[in-house]
């Protein structure tokens, strides 16, 4: 009998590439998500400047009754929320490093090795980002832009709403990991659980990098 056959029996989780199934699947999923956000971003760009009535993202608009609407997008506020999301990626990698290096010198009992802290911080920063988004949405509605108003409203709220939904799912995922960490402690064996969550989280961050430039900064 071939020697490889014996090997297979020893490892119950043998894989052809030596990689974990879940990690392969999450990368395939992220590839698929590229097309999802491509469709949303394309639609936003195609409809840019095509709205018949205001308010508009970057220009003021006067309606027939003479009421003046300010440009909708609030760059200072969104710059802050963008910074928050970028920093959440930093604490996410720290969480992963803390779990992967559990028990190693430099990590045991130190701040750097405190995976619970970093997971909680990532979730908290994600939640802060969502808070900013809620504030942004409500203030836009107050200024007269709803999802019904015009093409800009429809495509803007749908695009950023989809991104927000992804962040929400990510926060729930992080909280789940945090509760596992509190309950039984995540060990280096569980690093993969954190890794796939981190990949998803960074991808959502990367999508925001694209949205921030294409939607907010470019007129």
């Amino acid at each position: 009998m071939a020697s490889a056959v014996a090997e297979v029996h020893e490892h119950t989780h043998y894989t052809t590439t030596g990689l974990d199934n879940r990690k392969v699947a999450i990368w395939a999923f992220i590839g698929s998500e590229c097309m999802l956000f491509m469709s949303l971003i394309s639609t936003y760009l195609i409809y840019k400047g095509k709205s018949i009535v205001g308010p508009f993202p970057h220009e003021a608009w006067t309606d027939p009754s003479g009421h003046v609407f300010k440009p909708i997008l609030n760059i200072p506020v969104t710059s802050q929320s963008t910074f928050v999301l970028l920093m959440s990626s930093l604490v996410m990698v720290l969480a992963l490093a803390a779990v992967e290096n559990r028990g190693k010198p430099g990590y045991q009992g130190t701040l750097l090795g405190n995976s619970k802290l970093w997971l909680a911080a990532t979730a908290a920063l994600g939640a802060t980002f969502l808070g900013y988004q809620a504030y942004e949405f409500t203030s836009f509605v107050h200024e007269g832009l709803t999802i019904h108003t015009n093409l800009f409203g429809s495509s803007f709220f749908t695009l950023t709403g989809f991104h927000g939904a992804h962040v929400t799912a990510g926060v729930l995922w992080l909280l789940t990991l945090l509760s596992i960490d509190i309950k039984r402690g995540l060990t280096p064996k569980d690093a993969l659980l954190v890794d796939i969550c981190a990949l998803y989280w960074h991808f959502v961050d990367v999508v925001w990098i694209a949205i921030f430039t294409l939607v907010y900064l470019i007129k």
């Binding site: 071939a2 590439t17 392969v24 395939a28 999802l36 491509m38 195609i46 093409l151 429809s154 789940t176």
Partner: protein, 631 residues
């Protein structure tokens, strides 16, 4: 060979074991039965359509019901019949062909099936209440927006497609991971059977094409339920947005429908020609090429909308280009048969039928790639003829061939060759009788989707011939059904290597035991079983020669036949637990979308209660699922 091999070797029996199964072979069988049922249903819808069109000025059905019938015929055949029939083969075959014991995520696989069957039912039932989708399988917006389609019909279509998309996506992630990661030792990518290769390409097409339709449908859903403006022309929306997004999905989708059939014939032809596939590498690379180019040709569905000379030229060129890798495969198959010792089994007849009929459809496809020609042909029966030659003549012929070929592996018994031959010739004649005259009625200007027509336009005879052909097609499918059901009980008992084929799935008993392979094989070439039984056939193809000696006994079929009678427990092979959670999750998901329908009748509270309730059930089940051990 042992005559007891036909006894199903599944260790569990009873309906509950089917509902909770996570075995890829049983899920494959479920897909097969369900998809065949929907195939019959879609066929009957086509029967009514052709009955209506048999003669001028007929009023068998109303215009409204006719709209529902052609919409549901297309939707059913594409999403509920051909794709799931391919999925049946993905499920049953991929793990067997790559030497794995199951797919990467067995429970996700069960989930995909249950979402499909519930979503399919969700889409199909409304036709009995005269509220079936009626906007065409392509559902062009703004026609499908609220002002023009105010009924529930389109809502069922939007929700149904979203649900089916989730099923396809979940399955695709699963198979990508399975093919990348579950191959037996020695099974390099370039040793994979061509069916697995084509399936691999299809999974990427699914994963990249479905998100686009998902978003297009979300826009439509929001327009209908929340008053957004995506397809609202008065608000400045572009009427082409839907068409572009739809065909960015829609064109890869046609390759999703045809490539699995290409894979199946690439297994059948070498087996019955007793020769390895001619130009394996070229077949594989052209499959990958089709996958990539498939994303760059979508606008050839839209030449008539006036995109301008530049866009028309580019898409005409890419469309002509994609004809090349497709044509290359045809020559590979012909060259495979050249000089082979051919056995004309029913499966082989269907495979050769595919080559002939797909070529006709392929050629009329290249005709459409020229915008001036397309402007004459678009939206006429000429196009209907074209895509039925590629989808019926291609996909369905290939799938029938696949069913005759793999039936012994699935059930342990052969299908009747006599009935199979009758089935083939009836189908072949009826298919041409139905669809060939459509080239003429189309060229004479008969538009698609009209529910009746006046006499004296030169279309009468052609329509009558098409309708007679459809009647014969339904009869020939009945021959298949009889054969399928009868052979299950009384067919000749099949050995493990039912046809003298060369790939891994034939090294294990028919039907395979729960665990597939008692010993995980070690693969040294593309046709490991031929290395053993017919080394002369494989002497010219890629091998790792030093491996051959070591491997020979690992492949000895009798060893596997004997072990097939032992249970997984006796062999010490851990098997995944049965679970009902995927079914609960699938039901919750479908209810979640179904609940939104109440938005249509402005019962906002009811809609939110059902949707949020089932969403919580879904998330809860998901947590329970992910925290319970697999095996």
């Amino acid at each position: 060979m042992a005559t007891t091999a036909a006894t199903p070797s599944y260790e569990q029996t009873g309906i509950w074991s089917w509902i909770t199964t996570v075995d890829h072979k049983r899920i494959g069988a479920l897909y097969l039965y369900t998809a065949l049922f929907f195939f019959m249903f879609g066929g009957l819808e086509a029967g009514v359509i052709r009955w209506q069109l048999a003669q001028p000025n007929q009023h068998i059905v109303s215009a409204e019901l006719y709209n529902q019938l052609f919409t549901m015929h297309g939707t059913t055949m594409i999403f509920l019949a051909v794709m799931p029939l391919s999925a049946a083969f993905f499920n049953f075959l991929i793990p067997l062909q790559i030497g794995a014991r199951d797919v990467a995520f067995p429970r996700l696989n069960a989930f995909s099936y249950w979402v499909y069957v519930l979503g399919g039912t969700f889409m199909t039932l409304p036709i009995f209440f005269n509220t079936a989708p009626n906007g065409g399988w392509f559902g062009y917006a703004p026609l499908t927006t609220l002002p023009f389609s105010s009924g529930l019909n389109i809502d069922f279509w939007v929700m149904g497609l979203q649900i089916l998309g989730i099923s396809s996506l979940a399955a695709a992630f699963n198979f990508i991971t399975t093919i990348i990661n579950m191959r037996a030792p020695g099974m390099t990518l370039m040793r994979m059977p061509v069916f697995t290769w084509m399936s691999f390409v299809v999974q990427f097409l699914l994963v990249l094409a479905f998100p686009v339709i998902t978003i297009a449908l979300v826009f439509l859903l929001f327009d209908r339920f929340f008053g957004t403006n995506f397809y609202e022309i008065a608000a400045g929306a572009d009427p082409l947005l839907w068409q572009h997004l739809f065909w960015v999905f829609g064109h890869p989708e046609v390759y999703i429908l045809i490539l699995p059939a290409f894979g199946l014939v690439s297994e059948i032809l070498p087996t019955f020609s007793r020769k390895p596939l001619f130009g394996y590498n070229v077949v594989v690379y052209s499959g990958i090429m089709i996958g990539f180019l498939g994303f760059g040709v979508w606008a050839h569905h839209m030449f008539a909308v006036g995109m301008g000379a530049t866009a028309d030229t580019i898409f005409a060129l890419t469309t002509m280009l994609i004809g090349i890798p497709t044509g290359v495969k045809i020559f590979n198959w012909i060259a495979t048969m050249w000089g082979g010792q051919i056995r004309f089994t029913a499966a082989m007849k269907f495979a050769i039928g595919l080559i002939a009929l797909f070529t006709i459809g392929g050629i009329s496809g290249v005709m459409h790639s020229s915008p001036p020609a397309d402007l004459q042909q678009t939206d006429t029966y000429f196009v209907v003829a074209h895509f039925h030659y590629v989808l019926f003549g291609g996909s369905i012929m290939g799938i029938f061939g696949g069913i005759y070929f793999y039936y012994p592996k699935i059930t342990g018994r052969y299908m009747s060759e006599v009935l199979g031959t009758w089935h083939f010739w009836c189908t072949f004649i009826a298919m041409n009788l139905t669809f060939f005259p459509m080239h003429f009625s189309g060229m004479l200007g008969m538009p698609r989707r009209i529910y009746t027509y006046d006499a004296g336009q030169g279309w009468d005879t052609f329509n009558l011939i098409s309708s007679i052909g459809t009647g014969l097609l339904i009869l020939s499918t009945l021959i298949f059904v009889v054969n399928f059901l009868k052979s299950r009980k009384s067919g000749e008992v099949a050995p493990g290597d039912a046809w003298g084929a060369g790939t891994l799935e034939w090294t294990i008993p028919s039907p395979p035991p729960d665990y597939n392979f008692a010993e995980i094989p070690f693969v040294t070439s593309r046709y490991p079983l031929w290395d053993l039984k017919h080394p002369e056939r494989t002497s010219g193809i890629a091998h790792s020669a030093p491996d051959v000696m070591t491997i020979t006994d690992a492949h000895a079929t009798p060893v596997h036949e004997e072990m097939g009678h032992k249970t997984a427990a006796e062999l010490g092979i851990p098997m995944p637990f049965n679970t009902v959670k995927p079914l609960i999750a699938a039901a919750a998901l479908v209810a979640m979308f179904g609940g939104l329908l109440f938005m249509h009748t402005n019962q906002f509270a009811v809609a939110m209660t059902i949707t949020i309730g089932s969403a919580s059930l879904f998330v809860g089940t998901l947590y329970a699922w992910l925290t319970s051990p697999l095996e």
